[in-house]
């Protein structure tokens, strides 16, 4: 479900001038979008609700530090992402993988060809929907923040590479590389569960 920017109710100038009603209008128009992003990060309804409130409070208290080099709503989302990251670090049960482990989940090549072979997937035949979701969340939890967040922003939020790069403060090239590596790592983690068994 894409989240197209809808900043029509955001009067940045009034907000920066201390107009509380304008700030609250932004809260009304952006709460749902922010909740979805944070929920996609933390996958915990209660935590996401609480983090939304904390995000707007931090934004309100720190309006002075908004430099205007992005949209105000993007700046607020950035605060939400940082809070979601902190929450994940404190509450995630499993240790995210390091770069070495990530590398092991990328395909190997020899003379330009894959060294391994692949069986077609048939996820709907090999696992029930609830089970599939559980497996995907477990795999996502194994990714480090920097990989997980590009999956959230590009594949779930369906934000453009440009928007993702701006929100994460990285280059567009870095977004593309991380996204590709993250998808390949997820593919490797999910492969044992979804490869068809033709034997």
């Amino acid at each position: 479900m894409p989240n197209a920017p809808s900043s029509s109710r955001v009067d940045t100038e009034a907000i920066l001038n201390g107009d509380r009603a304008a700030f609250e209008a932004m809260v009304e128009s952006e709460t749902s979008r922010l909740f979805h992003i944070i929920l996609r990060y933390v996958n915990d309804d209660e935590a996401a609700r609480s983090l939304v409130q904390e995000t707007f409070l931090q934004a309100y208290k720190n309006l002075d530090s908004f430099r205007g080099d992005s949209k105000l709503t993007s700046w607020v989302i950035g605060i939400g992402i940082n809070l979601a990251r902190s929450w994940l670090r404190k509450n995630k049960r499993q240790q995210p993988m390091d770069e070495e482990a990530m590398e092991r989940l990328q395909p190997d090549f020899r003379f330009g060809r894959y060294t391994g072979s692949f069986e077609p997937w048939d996820p709907e035949q090999t696992a029930e929907r609830t089970e599939r979701k559980k497996l995907v969340h477990k795999a996502l939890d194994e990714l480090s923040d920097s990989y997980r967040e590009v999956i959230v922003l590009r594949d779930l939020e369906e934000r453009s590479t440009k928007e993702t790069a701006e929100l994460l403060n990285i280059s567009r090239g870095a977004v593309r590389v991380r996204l590709h590596r993250a998808r390949q790592a997820l593919r490797s983690l999910l492969n044992p569960h979804f490869a068809s068994d033709f034997s």
């Binding site: 609250e24 809260v27 009304e28 709460t31 996609r40 409070l57 090549f109 998808r183 492969n191």
Partner: protein, 101 residues
């Protein structure tokens, strides 16, 4: 002759590794026409790459299917907006300039 063959190969043939490097751009619909043709020519003739592409796409679909937001109504949650505004009003500091309320 060697240069000609190298150029011919560059134009017409991609290795599996090169195809893998184009996957993200292909799925995103960002490949230019010529590269897309090369990519698809390789995929059509290479079962390994075809299966890998199927798994790569299925991975994206599975991630979308597992989206936590699917379990929530898509419309803005008035209750959450009310909770958030109430939370903020409890925590606002006294205005320092021309705040309107």
């Amino acid at each position: 002759m060697a240069t000609f063959l190298t150029e011919w190969r560059r134009r017409w043939m991609l290795t599996c590794k090169e195809v893998n490097g184009f996957l993200e751009a292909y799925v995103d619909g960002r490949l230019d026409t010529a590269t897309k043709e090369q990519f698809e020519r390789h995929i059509n003739g290479c079962e390994t790459c075809r299966t890998y592409l199927q798994q790569y796409r299925a991975t994206i679909d599975l991630v979308k299917e597992a989206d936590p937001v699917n379990d929530h109504p898509p419309a803005p949650s008035d209750a959450l907006v009310d909770e958030t505004l109430s939370f903020l009003r409890d925590h606002y500091e006294p205005p320092t300039n021309n705040a309107s309320s």
